[in-house]
Symmetry: C2
Subunit: 327 residues, 2 copies
DNA sequence: TTGTAAGCGTTATCAT
DNA sequence: ATGATAACGCTTACAA
């Protein structure tokens, strides 16, 4: 066991409360006493027990993060960003992987909420109102909006418009779209952006239908895409794009000579495909940072008005897009 | 604020200690009283405060995991596996991303150790003895061994032998090896396996040198590989292999027709390359599960002898390996 | 400035 | 079987 505040008090010849004050830099303590306490604490390698402190202050010094799937690089990135910002703020973070399961999300909220000062819900699959009802701490949403809650989202539809505009500028007039799971929030945003883009550029968009947001989803969509008159394809995300690329390669279709492919998210893998993927960059680490800041603000003052931050997106042009093949 | 044990006690017309006993299933409580308490607890939606409980029991119900980099799918997988096993055991998990920085690893140990019942150190970059010295709880290592500590590792050298044997069976007699960071523990294991394989199969191994364990590392190694007489290449891990594949494609080299490529780890991305990667599968989720079990055992009885579990590895043959081209 | 004492919510000990 | 009481390690009135 580590040494307690009493050990330090005894060693420094003062009372426990004086140690507490001296170490918290806050109470009024004479300089001489303070240095004696600090020396004693140092010597005994004293570290305040966060549990005990939390019991009385009501603060745990912890944040909770709930993501649908840590294996998805998108969420891993969020976890990493949150992590690093939290550390900089002196906070530790609980991570719960809900395995894409709404029930587990709720369970995670329940088991975490008492041990954290605030909760970050990233792309929750379940009903947000329900989750919040069980949260005993401030909540910030990432990648989803909800009335009355602070959230950090990306300008998904804006990014979609940029992608389509770029394709149009290259000469593409018919573009296929591989949608993800029907219920997805980003999916809705994406379709919204597509509508805008059609109005703005006059391209024709062919909806290939809903697919799993996975490699297999993209793999399956490729054949449909090739059967359509589209010369370019916009994928639900980079992983789906990766599946597309793979199937296209297997069928001997050259990218971007024969078909242009655009992904979404700009996760690490987008740089590692062949050819490297043109994709809409969604800020993740900065979204996570913002989320921490919003949470910290809400913890300090539970009555601050919720803020809905929308982060800019931009198109990263790599080698998977080019001028359309003559047909 | 949620309701406390006293609220429940009052509602059930018993004392707080009876509530505690009734709910913990452990103390002797009459069936009638128990059901009354449970009903009251239900009604008030009472949940024991883990902080307060932890203060007296010394148990937090939490596990800590420290990984070098959550963005590395290998570690994300470990995190996910640990997560799910911990949940099944009624434990929550703190995750710390040390950002490949030994100093941050130590910091993470210090800030987490008081809030957890046990710590899992995954592929620590820093001196294990130093880390353990600052840990106030049981520690289990993943992917690294250390005298006196429980650990879960994979039979890396055995996997290497299998990979080389397979290549030899295909007809390859000269194999290039792309090593990772010089200090890496797995790197050492891999080289050991290589030595064994050379003895067993008589192939010639050409060490291309140390590279970063990243996409760029593989990208850079590809040119060296092509300049060598090797017909196959073994990469430090799948990400490196991915870099290799990419550069090879860019230089017009066909895989596996011209060159065979073998990765290491079998992370998700290995299935998504073109062609899909032959790779040595390292069990991660099961390693994480085992780690949780070892930790739980050590928590229950701090005096159990440390156990060094070595998990089997196997070769996953996909499409990146084939018979060597005639030279 | 410093110490004393109360209390955070729970469980463990000891009576009853 | 149940209840009173102390204790876990800390912070924070309040008193000195």
């Amino acid at each position: 066991m580590g040494s307690t505040i009493r050990d330090v008090a005894r060693a420094a010849g003062v009372s426990a409360s004086t140690v507490s004050r001296a170490l918290s830099e806050r109470g009024s303590v004479s300089g001489e006493t303070r240095s004696r306490v600090i020396a004693a604490a140092e010597r005994l390698d004293y570290r305040p027990n966060p549990t005990a402190r939390g019991l009385i202050t009501g603060r745990t010094g912890n944040l909770g993060l709930i993501v649908p799937d840590l294996l998805n690089p998108f969420f891993a990135d969020v976890a990493k960003g949150l992590q690093s910002r939290a550390r900089a703020t002196g906070l530790s973070v609980f991570v719960a992987d809900a395995d894409e399961d709404p029930r587990l999300e709720l369970e995670a909220v329940q088991s975490l909420t008492r041990q954290v000062d605030g909760l970050v819900l990233c792309s929750p699959r379940s009903d947000v109102a329900e989750l919040v009802r069980h949260a005993a701490t401030p909540v910030v949403l990432i990648h989803r909006r909800h009335p009355g809650l602070s959230s950090v989202t990306a300008d998904v539809s804006g990014g979609t418009v940029k992608a389509v505009q770029n394709l149009r500028a290259l000469g593409h007039t018919t573009i296929a779209y591989v949608d993800g799971p029907a219920a997805s929030w980003v999916g809705g945003q994406r379709r919204e952006g597509l509508r805008e883009a059609v109005q703005a550029t006059g391209v024709e968009v062919i909806h290939l239908g809903n697919f799993a947001g996975t490699f297999d989803g993209g793999f399956a969509a490729a054949d449909l895409m090739l059967a359509s008159p589209a010369t370019a394809v916009l994928a639900y995300n980079d992983i789906v794009a990766c599946g597309l690329l793979n199937r296209l390669a297997a069928r001997g279709v050259r990218v971007p000579d024969d078909v242009s492919v655009v992904g979404y998210d700009d996760v690490t893998i987008a740089m590692m495909t062949y050819p490297p993927l043109t994709t809409v960059h969604l800020p993740r680490q900065s979204a996570a940072r913002t989320a921490v800041d919003l949470l910290v603000a809400a913890i300090k003052d539970p009555d601050v008005a919720p803020r809905e931050d929308v982060l800019a997106t931009h198109l990263v042009v790599r080698a998977s897009t080019g001028v359309p093949a003559r047909r």
